[in-house]
Structures are given as structure tokens and as C-alpha cells.
Symmetry: D2
Subunit: 342 residues, 4 copies
Amino acid sequence: MIRAAVVGAAGYIGGEVLRLLLGHPKVEVAAAVSSRYPGKRVDGPHPNLRGTTDLAFCTEEQLDSYDVLFLATPHRATMKLLPRLAPKAKTVIDLSGDFRLRDAEEFARRYGAEHTRPDLLGEFTTGLPELAREQLAGADRIAAPGCMATAAILALTPLTDAGLIEPDVDVDARTGSSGSGATAGEANLHAERSGSMRLFATSGHRHEAEIAQACGVRPVMTATGVEAVRGVQTVCRTTLREGVTEADVRAAYRRRYADEPFVRVVAQRRGLYRLPEPKILLGSNFCDVGFAADGSGSRRLLAIAALDNLVKGGAGNAVQSLNVRMGWPERLGLEFPGLHPV
Amino acid sequence: MIRAAVVGAAGYIGGEVLRLLLGHPKVEVAAAVSSRYPGKRVDGPHPNLRGTTDLAFCTEEQLDSYDVLFLATPHRATMKLLPRLAPKAKTVIDLSGDFRLRDAEEFARRYGAEHTRPDLLGEFTTGLPELAREQLAGADRIAAPGCMATAAILALTPLTDAGLIEPDVDVDARTGSSGSGATAGEANLHAERSGSMRLFATSGHRHEAEIAQACGVRPVMTATGVEAVRGVQTVCRTTLREGVTEADVRAAYRRRYADEPFVRVVAQRRGLYRLPEPKILLGSNFCDVGFAADGSGSRRLLAIAALDNLVKGGAGNAVQSLNVRMGWPERLGLEFPGLHPV
Amino acid sequence: MIRAAVVGAAGYIGGEVLRLLLGHPKVEVAAAVSSRYPGKRVDGPHPNLRGTTDLAFCTEEQLDSYDVLFLATPHRATMKLLPRLAPKAKTVIDLSGDFRLRDAEEFARRYGAEHTRPDLLGEFTTGLPELAREQLAGADRIAAPGCMATAAILALTPLTDAGLIEPDVDVDARTGSSGSGATAGEANLHAERSGSMRLFATSGHRHEAEIAQACGVRPVMTATGVEAVRGVQTVCRTTLREGVTEADVRAAYRRRYADEPFVRVVAQRRGLYRLPEPKILLGSNFCDVGFAADGSGSRRLLAIAALDNLVKGGAGNAVQSLNVRMGWPERLGLEFPGLHPV
Amino acid sequence: MIRAAVVGAAGYIGGEVLRLLLGHPKVEVAAAVSSRYPGKRVDGPHPNLRGTTDLAFCTEEQLDSYDVLFLATPHRATMKLLPRLAPKAKTVIDLSGDFRLRDAEEFARRYGAEHTRPDLLGEFTTGLPELAREQLAGADRIAAPGCMATAAILALTPLTDAGLIEPDVDVDARTGSSGSGATAGEANLHAERSGSMRLFATSGHRHEAEIAQACGVRPVMTATGVEAVRGVQTVCRTTLREGVTEADVRAAYRRRYADEPFVRVVAQRRGLYRLPEPKILLGSNFCDVGFAADGSGSRRLLAIAALDNLVKGGAGNAVQSLNVRMGWPERLGLEFPGLHPV
């Protein structure tokens, strides 16, 4: 058993880290920090954890020393917290956006603020085992990627690794409301958000930079909020290189993900679930990826992925990275397969 | 054409008053007051009105004189506004809770504040034509009832008018999220409110007092937020008086509502919509009412109603009251029948 | 008053034609044909029409002679019905897909069946006043376009008319469940369809051919079912021709739709509803169109449209076409502006 | 490891049994019978199981011999299947309604058919460990109760066991769409069912008889379909016996469920989740129960429960019963706590 602390533990991502760690056979949740609810039970903001834990939130000052520290704190605040918190644990896994990009200028452009610790950016490994399993084995600074970025990266990687597509990619992301967090505002007011198809980003979304960095493509991303609480689907419009066939594509996906515990290739000819659908992934760490060539014989190819933004797009990915880091079986604590119907 | 002003015009009820008045052939919307958005176009917070009006919000100070003033201002604030605003119009129609109850003590108990103008309570007529059509014809102070109260009152009135039921009634209200207004908070955060069955009131709801006042029953009310933006359904559990039959009940409903333009008796033997269902009433001023006797021959009777809380449960009812007040055809500006499917 | 008959009147589109015609001041609904429910009241399958009409369905055989006939019958069946039914009315407005395409071979490719009356294809005018207002003025054979096609065409027309874009266009359509009609099947089972992001067409959708025919572009279309009953949004990914600026685009949209009663240009800098959103259009005949240039200065341009698939994407468009055909004010019977919140 | 077979394995309950057993450390799923999909992979109708199993459906004829047989077959069909299937396993757990009621006449009244094997009714133990843990330890014929009945029974049992309430109880059940199963029909068509508040049973629901049998009360039940796929909430309106206080009630709940692994008492003074809410229980085997006394000091008491109808209201309860039957830790394979937000 190792001892873990979670900072920012009252938010949606923090709560999901708690849920997964409380069910993890090799991790003890030793501390959950919340600046809003110090002293309160964690099952207040996370009512699904009732009966599972008696843990209460503590303050940052009450932290002592841990094997692993999960940061589920806001963008731009985390880079300021890190120097203070990092000494409290051997391994730090950051779920914010602050240490995902290796280039400080790109960070400034995307996050509208200068990076306060550009010197630390190079220390972080991307917390995505499918991309960086070997590096994660020895990593003590891990940055989990963004939810929509994770989906797009996993959809595109088989194609870019095998050199099958041209560099220009349109990434169309559809997302549930939980991605915007637990802070109430007009944008996530139920009466406004319910049943919407809200095109909230038409270009320049932050996750573009992560996709570019991971896949070496030139992505342009749109993002639409649709009716769901959890769930992200990315539809990437790509162009096959001259001479590449659908069979090449299928082979590349199969090969790339043959041994991956949490990526399923879903590209069937028929059935309601023949392509990746987020709703059957609620609570699960799976990312389903698939593809569809243009029936007319053009070089267009859709690369599609679906995941639960709080699990494989956040907390689950972080726990999977911990499992890799610790040399544990990768599925540990992440066995929930998702539900149907739901 | 008469000239109307709407105060509190940026909220959900205010917006619905605007929508209905802008489509009303005998009313000109001369002013829309919002303390939050003075100078801004009304189609900002009410995007459905784009192309329908170029009106901008003004401040209360900019008001001059109107034929009718609609108050869509908050509970407890309205009683303070009224003395200042009333002189600006011949007729005032209040949609807040402040002048619904005739008894100041009951108001204090239900709203947690002393009434500041108990002397004015007696001047108000209930803005529910089905109950008070004659009084409304000459009324210049009109208080539209609460959304859940309206539904329960219309479900119960045929029974209480005909003396068919015992006085103890359980009122079970189910409601969409728009009833809690346009102010964002944790309770109406999409991720929390979506798909919920939230029993937010188990007894003592304010609308109990309105039902008691209107129907002479002793209601106990529960209220549950279910997944919907608009829509209220009330299921009243009542006990038939000794000897009363289902045929008596059916006759009472038919008789009571035979000539009502906006109440439909819906109590069929089969079909998905055999009892009142709010979803087909979105945007409509109909209140559907129905009933179901216990098949086992007991004296239990369900009295059921459904409406759109922002229309027949608010703005539509207010406009219908205006139509009665002015001696106009009652359906004027309220012809939209609702949608199916939706 | 003219006399109208609706065939296929028990379906979702048929019901919407009935709703609109029953509220139309110059049309009398003289007959509603349903092969499933002959003799039954139309407010059975269309419960929103209770209290609005006492009409009952009749059979095709009972039809006599009308001024206008609306066909809301299935694809592939309508081309067989038409020769039999056309003599019963001066004007025929078809809402099926059978007479939308001018080219019989394209029809065969898209609908998987030979056209049985290719000779009649040339007689039909597209029932989209924004494209064909002048032709409609004298038209007696009118084919209303498909719901997703209508949205895409209205999004693209200002750009293609002004010659601003390259011919290759990706059309990404998102749609509610009512588009698949009133026939129950596994695909529209609530437990399966609810909350889904189902990519049901990845290329080759029928509506591609209508878009190509109307706009002269080469569209590739994807379609996703998202959680909604009504509502279509199309996001068209286009490429601006060399030298075209965002100001050119804005001017083209403004100019093209300056006098259109049912198209609103929605392309604002901020706000939850700054781009076209279907949910505020439920029940309304508006199509909102907008655009977004790529912030990075590339030549990419999104052209976006939203509508209610059963109204502007179907029945409303048909009634608007009738208004044009008859020389009536175009808004007649179509005044409902949509709701907010909803 | 024991060997299990599931009959009716392609339905929603059958799929949930498969999901739970596939994750159960002491059970091997040796056969899954489906008459509709023989030879097809189980992850076809149950796409959430992709990557979890390669199992294919077999026919009833292909069954050999198992330790336990789960019947997830339809009401009225199961009583005919049982004699044929029972010899194939030592232990049979039936999830249909056919062996829940001990009285054949009551069965006939509720299910509209004579029971074909009334002689077997007495052999069955109710598959609800909270009621029948001791009997289950030695049981080889187990009948899992209905989903709404389970909720109501768990809400009422602390009160009836302690003799705190009068026998007349109103049970108000609200339910998601998955309870009606995987067979498409007009009632569960997405466009009709979405956003509805459909009062589909006003009295005489079958589950009344189970509640009466288990709790010794006289229930009258109403049931409403609300927008959700999974989830049941029951609100029981009860009357406290003379002299019973809220403290007595609280003590009774605490005492009754102190050691129960899957029942949580949720009756707090504040918070969005202060009373049982089904949405945070998706996929979980918890049943949350709570209560609310009338603030006015009357003897009215609400007893409330929430659960996932396919888990604690079906498959989870069955697996928990198996755990008890086998003497295994009761939580085995049922550890998933539910999600928040969702």
C-alpha cells in the first residue's frame, strides 16, 4: 500500500480521483485537500462515496508526506502551487493544464498567462500510457492530458505513427457538461445547457496544442456542448496519404492497440454501437477508437474516439499512469467496464 | 393598442411575458425594465426574440406612464417596489408571490419575512380566470398564482366546488428547472440537476398556502425536480366523500371546464397521453387536468394537472388575466397549442 | 379560405403540417388521411391538438377535391402515390424525398430504388422560398427539401451565391430523434437513443445530393444523433477563396438574408447563443445561420445553421412555400418565435 | 470458481447479470442463452462488455449442467421454462415476476394468467438479503423481487418491523425507461418518452402485491415514467402511529440498516443529495433510503428509497443473493459505488 494525497479534491476531477483510489487495492487515500470544505466529509460534495469512506477534507497546510500527490487544481493556479507541494511526495501527477505543454510560449498563447515555472516543463512526462508507457515507468512528474486532447490523440496516433495521413486535421469535439467543472455559472445553468448543441469553440481551443505536440499534426478544433453530463466524442477529419487503403488503416489500428488494456477498436459495419459512443463508457477507463473511410473512394478518413472525460479523460488516466509508474498491473482499480443501457 | 411595461424583464418569467406581449395584437410593449442589463437589447438574454423586436431594457427611473404594468420581480422585493411603481399604470399584474396570499401572517410564515404592505393585500384579485373571471373584469391589482399552485388548484377545483372530496389532500408536484429562475447556483448546475429526481420539498412549501386559500382544502405538498426545463405536473391524492362515484367526478370536471378556453379534461382509458403530461404543453397556455379513481373500488382519487410553468403557470396566465380585464377575447395572443413530439 | 388535405397525417411531419394549418387564417383543413388510424380523431396520435380540432382521419379513398394537398408520406411510396393523388388538388406539396432530386440516376443511387416517375421530376419546384421564391409563386408541384439539407443549404447559400468559397465542403449534421419518424425500432428506443452521440452516417447521406444540387458544391456529410427530440444543427467546414475576408463573409450573409422573414444571421462575439442553437427554435419556422472564421488567419470558415427539423426543416417550410405560392404574407400562420429557456 | 448460466441473456437485466458475473472473482460465466441471437457474441447487444469477454450466446438446448442458473426471462414465460431448466443447476435465481408471490390467486390477479406451477411457489425464497438473509443461506430457489417493489420494501421495512406506521401506504414510484426492457414499442420511443412525466399506473400495479406480502401493509401504488434510463425512486406516504416521533423513526432506520452492506440511510437536513436520489446510484448495488417527517407536526411521514432498477432492483440483488447463498462476502463483485456527477 502506498499513501496518496489529492489536492483540489472537492471538484469533479478530484472526486473521481478519490472514487478510483478508494477502490484501488494498493493505494490508501491519506489526505484530500479542499480549500472550500476543510473539515467537512468528502462524501458531502461527492455523495456517491457515502458508505465507502469516512474521510474529511483537510487544508494544504495539514499535508505531510506521501508517496503520490494528485493535483486536481485549476489551470494557472497549479503552476504556482507545484513548487510548494512537490516536496511533499515522491511522485506528482498533475491533472491541470499547466504542465502539459513543453513549450512555455505555446502555454502563454493558449492559457493567456505567462508560465511562472517554465524551467519545470521539461521534467514532466505525459500521463498517457498509450503514448509514454516506457517513460512513465520511471516518471515522478506526470501531466495527464486534457479530456478532448486524449480522445483526439488516441484516435489519431495509429494513423500518425504509421504515417498514413496528411498533417492537416479537423478535430470536432462534442462534450458533456461536467468538463466545465463544479462551479456554477450561466453557461452551465441547467435551463440553458440542457438539450443544447452549443458550439463554444470554433478554433484555437487549448487542446489543439496538446494534439499537435503529441501527434505532429496541424489540428483545427471545434467543440460543441451537447446534452450529457459525462462523455467526450472526437471526430477527426483527416486525409489519407496517396495510396493508403482502408485495409492499411484497419491494420494500423489493430496493431497499435492490440495489447492496450484500455483502448478498444470499434469500427463495425452495422449496429447502433458500431462506432465509438461515449454513453456506454460512463465511469469506465476505456477509450473506444474507430474510423470510417469515405464510401465514395476519396481519401477522406474519419478517426473517431469516445471516452468519459472524468475517467480516461482525467482521473482514470492518472490512476493508470500511477499503475504504470509503480509497475503494477495496469488495470488495477480500473476494472469497471461501463454500463448498457444507460 | 394599449401600452405595457414589464419590470424584471430579463428573467425567465419576464422574458415569457415579453414573448407573449410582442405577439399580442392589442398590446404594445413600451418598456422592459432590467436592473442588470439597462441599455442592452432584450434579445440578448432572450435569444428567441431575435428578429421579433429591437427593444432595449431601460431602468425603473426611465419609466413614464402605461396602461398596464407587469411585475416579474423577486418575492419580497416586489412588495417594496409596488408602492413606487403602481402609480405608473392603471393596471398592475404581479407575478411574484408577494400579493397572492390575503393573510399577512400566513405570508410571514411562508416567506420568512414580514409583509411591508399588508394594507394592500386586500386590493389584489387572483389572476386565474378559471377562478375569478368576474372579479378580473374590473380588477386593477392582479396577483398571478404560483406555477405549482395553479396546477393543483385547477386539478382540485372541480372536486371542491362540487363538494366531492374530503379536505385532506396530498399534493405531489414534479417540476422542471426553469422554475428556479435564471440565477445560477449549485442547485441548478447542469451536471447536478440533469436526470435528477430531487425531492426538494417534503412539506411546508409556500404553494400549499395558495392551494388552501383557493380550494378550502388542507394540502400537504411535496415537490420533486425531475429532468425537464419547463413543465409542472401535480398529482393530488384525495379521498372521495362517501357515496361519490367516478361518474360524479367525470361529470364535475366536464361541467366545470366545459367553457374554459385553456383547460382540457384529459382522462382517457388508454394511450400514452391519457393523463396530463407537461411535455406537450411547452409554450402553450393550456392546463390539462385529469383524474383516476382507484380500480379497487376504494375512495381514493388522483386529481392530476400539467402545465408549462412559465406560461399557464406564469406569464400566460397573466396575459389571459389581462385579456379578461380588458374585455378582449380570452385567447388573444395565446393561441400556440404546444408541440408533439417534443 | 382554401381547402387543404394532408396525406400521411398521423406521422410526425404530418402532425406538424396539421398543427400549422389549423392555426393558419386562410386555410381550412378539409381532410387528414391515415392508413393506420382511419376514423380515429387526429388528436389521438397528436395530443397537442386536443381542443383545437375535432377532425378525424379518413382514408385515401375518401378524398375528394382540394386546393392544396400535402404529402407527408414515406420515401419511395410517395412516387407511387403521386399519380393517383395529384388530380385531387390544384397544388401538391410533397414532403418526402421522392421529388427533391432532379436527376433520376442520382435518386436511384441515394434511395436504393429506381424512380417510378422520372418524367415528373422536372415538374417540381424546390419548396425553399429563400432559394426559389419567384418560381414558387407559380408552382403547383412543390418538393420541400430534407431537414439537414435545408440547414446546410441556408448556411452555404450566401457563400456560394457570392462565390466566396471553394467547392469542397464537409457538412457535419447533428440531429434529434424525431427526424427518424414515429415508427418504433431499436435505433430510437429511449434507453438506447437517450444521451447518445451516435454517428449514424459517415458519408454518402442522401441529403448530400440535395446540397450539391442547390449550392453547386461537393459536400461530404456526416450525421450524428445527439440528445434532443427536435432540432438540427449543421456545421459546414469550408475554405474561403484566396483573398476573401471575414468582412466579405459577414456582408454576404447580411445582404443575402436582409429581407428574409425566417432567416436570422447569428454570429456574435460573445454570449451563450452567439451561434445558431436549435433548442431555442423548437416549434418555430426560423432558421438561424452564422459563421466563424478561423482566428489564426487561415482560410477555413465554418458556416453554421440551426432549425427545428419538423418546422423549417419540414412542415413550416411547406406552409411558407404555400404562402408564397398563394401570394399571401409569408409569415402567415408561422409567427411562433420559439422559446427560451427550453 | 462456480459455473453460472444466464438465460434471457440478451435483455437488459440479462446483460446486467453478465456484467456483474464477468467481474465476479468466484464465478465463471459458462453459458449465456438467447433465443434471438444464438451464435452471436454477447458484446453485440451489450457493447459495454467489449474487451471483457469473447462469449457467444447459445440456445437453451446447448445448456448442460451448472452450479447456478439465472433466469432473466419474461414474466409468464418463466413459469413454463422453469421445470425444464431447473434440473440443469443446483441453484436457480429467477429475475422474472413468476415466483415472487406466494399466492397463486394473487399471481393470477396481478399477471392476468393462471400460474402453471403453483406447486413450486412455496419453494422460492425472496432474493432480498435485507429481508431473508438467513433463508437465502440455504436456498436453491430464489426469486428476486421487482425493482419498484425492492425500493418500497427497503424504504418501509424499518417502519413496519418496528411497528411505527399504520397499514395504509401510498407508494409513488418514479422510474427510468430501462425498466420496460429492450423491446421497442411506441411507449418507449425516444421522441415520446424523452422528457416525459408519464403516469402510467394509477393503481393496481403488480408490485403492490410484493410490497404487501413483504411488509404487511396495504399499499396503493402509482408509477410515473420520468426522464432517465436507469433509476427508480419510491416515495411512500405513510402515517405514524400515535405517539411515534421522528427520533423513533431515525433510530429504527439506523438500527435496521446498521450492518447492511448495500443500504445507506440518507436523511440529512441540507444538501442537494439530502434524500435518496437515483442518479448517483447508476451501476451501483446501493439502495439509499431516507425519510422526512412533516414539519407541521402531523403524523405524516415520507419514506423514500432510490436504486438502479437493473442493479439493486434486479441483477445486483440477484448476485448479492448468490453471495449470501454461497457464504461468500456479500460485496463480492458488487463494489462499484456509483458516479457523481452523472
